[in-house]
Symmetry: C2
Subunit: 206 residues, 2 copies
DNA sequence: TATTGTGAAGTGGTTCACAGCT
DNA sequence: AGCTGTGAACCACTTCACAATA
């Protein structure tokens, strides 16, 4: 199978979210056009995205909602639970801990280096001393690590997570992490987004 | 001038961040190669990105750090202060309020519909009743609106912000907002990022 | 008639490679 | 010799267009 484009994965996730939030509404089938609206794509794009993994629709009819949702969860690998450790019990980390605990991402540990935070609770999880990270992960590995520490510490934390067997990182620090090629990184960078808006608004006054 | 690619803007922001955090270190010039490492790009890509806006370097030498940073701030439109209103005083909004207040993005208002939150303080800013949004924006416009409310309310909030003159939106809700073509939207979607990691980790166990 | 699945064409961003300065 | 600036080549994602099917 050819390499899947990152943009395709992003859209598949949007299609799935649409199917999941609109499934109770009676409609048994959806067209590629409707999915396109949800995913910010054309109908042709939707069909191409899906055809990459198989033929899930019926010509002249569309896609069966429940069936396609199931296929998308399977394609995205959402059939299992991912174990997530959170390093840096700041606000972004808290936002993550708060959301999405249901959808297959289980937060199994929250760590911080700040003594003031250690021992505190973050959404029902005790914040542990980051010094324990390696020992804890050796005893009970995780799939995904969330880097929620300041920029200066981010690469160090990433290195420790990767050495401890984590193979996916969600990075909130405003810089690019250097990781081995078999480790996946997704960045959430508020500075970047704000700069992007600034650029889009060039020359416009309020 | 041709349309600038979103990926180019993203990298320009990364180059700038690199220059700003490493400017005190004696080096007066940087090469496109060094900038490429910071921005996750090749040296050729860096030069193309910059050449799009002018010739800022010297052949055989490189780019003057201070000078290039200044140019990048100018290109990105960071020379002025952007007035930002935050709707939804949740954790992501709090994360935003906490960071970056220095770099040209001034939070001028925080709103929520939840009576329990109204009147509370978020990083020194009083949370106001979202019902006042239109009146406040009419009296004192904003450039950027942050949509930090649940998915079901997101489009409604976006509509109200756009009607009140906001021309840039930072959307934390896990869906695509429909906005007029002259309004810029950037999405921060944790669900999407986690799904992306799930896909990248397909078939791998811990 | 409605809508999918897909090869072919199109578009646009990235990489190459080298001329041009310092 | 070192490094930028840039046209040309390349590559990958998107759109088109239409045969296939309900």
């Amino acid at each position: 199978m050819r390499q899947v484009a990152p943009s395709t994965v992003r859209r598949l996730s949007l299609y799935l979210h649409f199917l999941e939030t609109n499934s109770g509404e009676g409609e048994v089938t959806v067209s590629s056009g409707a999915l396109g609206v949800a995913g910010g794509a054309t109908s042709a794009q939707v069909r191409k995205d899906l055809s990459f993994f198989g033929s899930f629709g019926r010509r002249g009819v569309g896609y069966a909602v429940r069936d396609l949702a199931e296929h998308l969860r399977d394609i995205l690998g959402l059939g299992r639970t991912f174990r997530v450790v959170l390093v840096g019990a700041g606000r972004l980390g808290a936002a993550l801990a708060h959301s999405d605990r249901e959808r297959g991402f289980a937060i199994v540990g929250v760590y911080d280096t700040d003594a003031a935070r250690i021992g505190a609770e973050l959404d029902g999880l005790a914040v542990r001393d980051a010094a324990r990270l390696e020992a804890d992960l050796a005893a009970s590995p995780a799939d995904i690590g969330v880097v929620g520490v300041p920029a200066a510490e981010a690469q160090g934390v990433a290195d420790r997570l990767v050495r401890s067997g984590v193979r996916g990182l969600l990075n909130f620090a405003p810089l690019l992490l250097a990781v081995p090629p078999d480790v996946a990184v997704r960045n959430v960078n508020l500075t970047l987004e704000l700069d992007g808006l600034a650029f889009a608004l060039r020359g416009r006054s309020h």
